[in-house]
Symmetry: C2
Subunit: 345 residues, 2 copies
């Protein structure tokens, strides 16, 4: 089967005259060998061109150093960038990632989780949202979710409420006559709901005229364009003269809305103020750079892996764990003022 048989501890042992045990110790506890013997083994490794075999190591000590990851997709910039940052943590923690794309299909994701379990992953990071956290908790495996329903498991989320507050306050500071938030219908169970709550709270607190427009914009560019075009018509009709401050649920949507305005008026009319969400590339690359609220994706990824590593380490102790309550970390977002709010200022 195998091309060339790999060099093993046995080969090194024979070559050097030591036992397998000593070779093992050279790697795991070198100080217990004399410097002399370390040298001998070190040389043998080179002579024989030894390559380590982590599979054997895993079977022997049970530590795979694997973390499973399930993302809904990688089209969405948020997910691909999050995966990017998660993978980067290899440098700090040394864990390897087995990645699956769930495509928002619960049973597929369950199958993936089973496969991951068979590879003895030590922990799991979940970005997909089809499987309830209740069910995830039953896996009895260290788990961290990111930006999804997280009642029964540990999680790291953006402070969406604060994001909503920041965006709304920015619009308010420009003295808009009417503040409008456009979003898809959102369950209060998921973190993104905070954006809506933040918007409403600021408006109420400051006693501002406002409105939330809930509408499913679809996932294709055309459906988004169609829905937003309708919304634009409504706004033009309902608030023809008012200075309108729009907080739109994502930069992608904000960009479509902006393009509609440009196509209609050749420029961004003075009575429109726009803020998006995510600080995704499109917010920079749009004809007119879009003000937005950014999530610290790098921090979130790092905190998620940290939180997971903590749990995994706890598991390895002899007295397994005090298993405290589920931890929910929250990362504060940042506001970026760009031209859709700071016009020719």
């Amino acid at each position: 089967m195998k091309q060339k048989k790999n060099v093993t501890f046995n080969d090194i042992a024979k070559y050097t005259g030591f036992s397998k045990t000593t070779i093992s110790r050279y790697f795991n506890n070198p100080d217990s060998l004399t410097l002399e013997n370390q040298e001998i083994i070190s040389k043998a490794l080179v002579d024989l061109d030894y390559k380590e075999n982590k599979v054997a190591k895993i079977l022997a000590n049970g530590q795979t150093e694997f973390i499973g990851v399930i993302v809904p997709n990688l089209h969405n910039h948020y997910y691909s960038e999050m995966l990017n940052q998660i993978l980067q943590t290899y440098e700090q923690f040394g864990y390897k990632f087995l990645v699956f794309v769930g495509n928002e299909h619960a049973d597929t994701e369950r199958k993936y989780i089973e496969e991951l379990m068979s590879y003895k992953i030590e922990g799991l990071i979940i970005l997909s949202f089809t499987i309830p956290s209740r069910e995830l908790a039953d896996l009895h495996l260290p788990i961290v979710t990111i930006e999804r329903e997280d009642k029964y498991v540990c999680s790291v989320n953006t402070d969406n409420y604060m994001g909503g507050v920041q965006a709304t306050s920015l619009l308010a500071s420009h003295n808009c006559d009417i503040l409008i938030h456009i979003n898809t219908p959102t369950s209060p169970e998921i973190p993104a709901y905070g954006r809506i709550a933040g918007f409403e709270d600021v408006c109420r607190e400051k006693n501002l005229r406002h409105k939330v427009i809930y509408r499913d914009l679809g996932s294709t560019y055309d459906s988004m364009k169609k829905s937003l075009s309708e919304i634009l018509d409504e706004l033009e009709k309902d608030y023809p003269t008012e200075k309108k401050g729009l907080f739109i649920s994502s930069d992608t949507h904000a960009n479509v809305f902006l393009n509609l305005l440009i196509q209609r008026y050749g420029t961004l009319p003075r009575d429109y103020y726009l803020v998006g969400f995510d600080d995704s590339p499109i917010s920079t690359e749009a004809v007119i750079p879009i003000s937005t609220v950014g999530q610290h994706i790098d921090q979130i990824a790092f905190e998620a892996v940290s939180l997971l590593v903590e749990q995994m380490n706890e598991r390895k102790k002899r007295r397994p764990a005090p298993l405290e309550k589920t931890v929910h970390k929250v990362i504060t977002p940042y506001l970026i003022r760009r031209e859709t709010t700071e016009k020719d200022s």
Copy 2:
């Protein structure tokens, strides 16, 4: 160490009265058991809640079903979408992917490859371009590269030459007075060079006035904007009245150029025709949808994994392999006509 000891073949064997071997056969060659006994074992699996352990399986038969993947980054839509499609092939081939982000640092990538080897990956897909294919070939492992220098290894690439021809022909069909191709300095060794060759060949063949502008546009939006703004100035100066057909190396760059024009003129001037490359989201989301050449990322990913699987299967045969020459598959791109060329038609 371990929470609860896992149920093993031994446990099932004791429970059912069979031997471990029979249990193993139940999974790998069930037909060799009587239906009756299959039932008994099947029931035992449920009773004991058996979960398979692939790590042990690997150590025993050497087949990890792991494929290593190294991408330069995941910011770039092309890479994240390619990874997306690669991961999807799990459904057809069952291979799991260990993914690393190389960040274009050769030594880091070498370290990652070593780590991957220690996990006994069966094959490797390389999208990063820092390590020469000569060196990759020396790993003596099934390898497929995608869209990079591939002299000594198998690869799957887009037919960049054809892409260049398509883009250029489109511009030519609009009777542009001058055709211009903007690109970064590109080595003839990498597939993307074909775009330049295709452009030049079409222009020469049709005897068209043309020019290739080589310029490093940097990687930030601002540097791109700055460089392209300079190029725009040059074009305005050199070809003030000519109908200009621009083939730009990527949609991202084409979008920046488009935005510059819009900012300058409020609309896309009638004497500018633009074609980008990649069919990335920005080409659709731009103020004016950009004509572009699309790569069949799904096909490329599928062919890459297929090609790899072929090599891996060959390795498992008793007479290892006729090891033919390296295979280079080529996928034809598609042209999308959008508003930057098909104006009000």
